[in-house]
Symmetry: C2
Subunit: 263 residues, 2 copies
Amino acid sequence: MSRLPSHAEGKGHLAIVGLGPGKKEYMTGRALDVIAEAGVVLGHGTYLEPIQSLLSGKQVISSSMGKEVDRARQAIGLAKTQRVAIVSGGDPGVYGMASIVLEVLEHDGADIEVEIVPGVTAATAAASRAGSPLSGDYATISLSDLLTPIEVIEKRLDTVFSLGIPVVLYNPKSRGRPHNLAIAVSHARHHLAGTTPVAIVKNALREDEQVIITTLEEIEDHADKVDMHSVVIIGGAESRIWRRGDDVRGIITPRGYHKKYVY
Amino acid sequence: MSRLPSHAEGKGHLAIVGLGPGKKEYMTGRALDVIAEAGVVLGHGTYLEPIQSLLSGKQVISSSMGKEVDRARQAIGLAKTQRVAIVSGGDPGVYGMASIVLEVLEHDGADIEVEIVPGVTAATAAASRAGSPLSGDYATISLSDLLTPIEVIEKRLDTVFSLGIPVVLYNPKSRGRPHNLAIAVSHARHHLAGTTPVAIVKNALREDEQVIITTLEEIEDHADKVDMHSVVIIGGAESRIWRRGDDVRGIITPRGYHKKYVY
């Protein structure tokens, strides 16, 4: 069982495309190219809106959040005869469309060529606006309990916080689950000091971007700012606030060079 | 302590730029732009080579691996008066140049405008070549013990594998640490079945790319293929090999849609 995952020769072609944080300038050239080559583009309306200028002359199928299975099935059906691009925010392989499309394709059995185009994932897009909070080892955990039971999420949170590595929280809050962020913070506080830095990054590298640098003990003061367009980064045991004079510039999680070098 | 990390008005400008996996087509437009605008570009030779065509007319300072602190100090010195780009493979905020540059800048105290340009990180670049092995919650752990003691790495490995979430191993093997991958696999086997899928992705989205889909119990047969240009993805408890007939196409880590929907 050692071989390249070969892409079978189908008539059509299905690209599962990561758009990155949202603005066109943060897309890769490859993402632009496969969208240009596609006859049909499918995606959630939120992700299609910023790339409207790339879609003229194409069949565009916009659908709503929560319709991922239908969208995947439709994309596969169309890709049996056409060049199709199904778009996903960030990277399609992380809380994106790749897994559900491949699951449906596996079940369907169709002989379709598939290309997954990676994109700048929300974790690193958010981190880039908050200094260098991740830097090395880290974990990403979604607080959405739509597909994962809250008990499983809590176990994961408790365990990764116990390691003292930075943790990126996806889907930190929405109308259906307003308390999950407070639950996550309470697990973090079992293992980390109240002064541990936290970044709330809303609309990273998009319109209406907002970056809040705070701490575990003060995050409650800002919890109303957190929404479904936000990513929350909880620093690790070694993370610190990066200041210049009184100016808060971000978070630094050092990688350990200071133990080996003088600077 | 609630504010945007303001970028002070210095004379120069320092961009810490993620190049993504290596080929130009996987860079973002923003990365291309800041390199075009820079008068000076610094980086490790490996990362500068694929972007040679972008560097004509610029001062180019190529340095070796292991000289990160010197390179950071030099970039900051130059950025006091010039537009400087310091490049990093993948995303600069993940095992990249961002943390060390910010640490040196914090210590230096210079009033320099800094922009971190995120890139496609090695974890998701590799994942995109192996199906959808990450899909949801995951952890990234580097096996390099240059900056982190091996005991700390082992504790992290054991703990994240215990959760049954996929784990991305960076720096899985090099001449100085040939046994760390075997150590990681042995921790994985304490918690996961031998049939758990594993992807070895070498030179993801670069020349000489190689993707091997195997399992925890068979990875030893392929361990000689793993080098410092590889990323190893150990699937989670729910990951499975994605096949079409006898053809191995990759790994799927389902997100749980199958529990809610019929397809």
